[in-house]
């Protein structure tokens, strides 16, 4: 590990340690049902991870997040391609997506509960509807940033549409897709909790609701940390994919 990387890890760890110490001090001052001690939160967090019946709830939520994001990504990608090739399609679709962007996640939850019966379909619907506009606009931006020079150069070889998509469009939009996944992952994690809180019988959101009913702050923190850990792990995975996929980019030795 390089010195700068060690320094970065230490700085990040220091911030978290300060937060934990602050919380621990609050646990000395306030009752434990308001601010449970840090060791108790950690032990409850580990308990969830090693207890199969509890871990299932975490995996269920993770599956819902991935399902929703994947659905929105596919649909958003298709919409972006359609919009990118037709001004009329843009005039027709873009205002609808902008309108959807203004609808709060909680409203989608209410709509889903009224419209649909199945829990999984409800959650999937909510996830797709809340992340679809961002996916579409981000992929569209990436598509539009495609170099005219490279497009003309590629067209000079007379590729088929599929080959053009494969050799030029996909590599061009990959950075935008990765950014879209990173941005939407955080949003999806927040939305899924709301969806599970109101309309599900399993998952992290449902467990958080149970902890609230039991007035168990340590449990609430432990379940929240499951989601935070999940987001961190996936973010790091996306970062690793990004580093690999964009390894061709020149990196300046001088930092900003």
């Amino acid at each position: 590990m390089t010195n700068s990387r060690i320094m970065r890890v230490l700085q990040a760890a220091a911030g978290m340690i300060v937060l934990a110490v602050g919380w621990q001090i609050l646990s000395f001052v306030f009752p434990h049902y308001l601010f449970p001690p840090v060791p108790e939160i950690i032990s409850r967090t580990i308990e969830i991870l090693i207890t199969g019946s509890l871990l299932v709830d975490v995996l269920l939520t993770a599956g819902r997040i991935f399902g929703g994001l994947f659905g929105a990504f596919i649909l958003g990608g298709l919409l972006a391609m359609v919009i990118g090739q037709s001004k009329s399609a843009e005039n027709f679709i873009a205002p609808v997506l902008t309108f959807f962007q203004g609808i709060p996640a909680l409203s989608w939850v209410v709509f889903a509960i009224i419209w649909f019966h199945g829990i999984e379909f409800r959650v999937l619907f909510i996830m797709v509807m809340t992340t679809l506009p961002a996916f579409t606009f981000q992929i569209l931006d990436a598509f539009r940033s495609m170099s005219k020079d490279l497009f003309e150069m590629t067209m000079a070889f007379r590729p088929s549409r599929w080959t053009l998509f494969r050799v030029l469009i996909v590599p061009t939009i990959v950075p935008g897709i990765l950014t879209a996944w990173k941005v939407n992952l955080g949003n999806a994690a927040r939305v899924v909790v709301v969806a599970e809180l109101v309309g599900a019988t399993g998952g992290v959101g449902y467990e958080l609701l149970r902890q609230q009913q039991l007035f168990d702050m340590a449990g609430a923190m432990a379940w929240t940390l499951q989601l935070v850990l999940f987001v961190l792990v996936v973010q790091q995975t996306i970062n690793a994919i990004e580093n690999w996929a964009l390894r061709y980019r020149a990196v300046s030795e001088r930092a900003m």
Binding site: E152, F157, V167, L168, L246, R249
Partner: protein, 255 residues
Amino acid sequence: MTDPVIRFKDVSKTFRRPDGRGDFVAVDKLSFEVGKGEIVAVLGKTGCGKSTMFNIVAGLIEPTSGSARVVGHDPFHEFAFFRGKIGIVFQNDRLMPWRSALDNVRLGLQILDSDPRQAEETARAWLTRLGLSGHENDYPHALSGGMRQRVSIARAFAVDPEILLCDEPFSALDEMTARDLRAEFVRLVRQSDKTAVFITHQINEAMEIGDRVMVFHRPARIAYETRLGPGTTDADRRKVHEDVMRVLAVEQTPA
């Protein structure tokens, strides 16, 4: 006599001005022919429509009027016919930054659905021929300007096109590198008996490369044309140089 490889007959191209106030004529009833194996250098000031003519030959844009034919076909509408028939070297290298030098050279072959192993061999051979052996796996950002332009020349030649179009390919390079590449380019074109149209704004470059030199006025139409060959003496060349200078000097600046 064989049919010309490129034939322009009264070709015009008009663009709408970006501000919407009227049209802009880039090419005005341009007529010329290029025979097989000929290297034609096209000279003209910036904005005289050289690149528009180039894009019409390449089939990237459609003429507003007139007839443009390349090997007897319409380069804009007969899209599939020209697969692998035209190789282009642009002013900037236009390398895909996410592809290594080898993969950039392989691009055209990949688009033409060549056998992957054969394509790799061909790409490697062209990189070696252009002095880039050992740089096959380098990404464009790790190569110098001259090396990148060599890769783009290799990319154009790798598909073994009938026609080569070059749009000021060496203008961004230093004179030494440009001179070496020019000599290399002419050698490769002659060896493979290809037809080439070479756009430049440098008189010396045009005279060094072309069997024929055409000077464009703005909007693109031929203001001067001459043939050069092994029999052309130094005195003839000096005379051509002076004539071209004079033609370029009298050209009006755009309104």
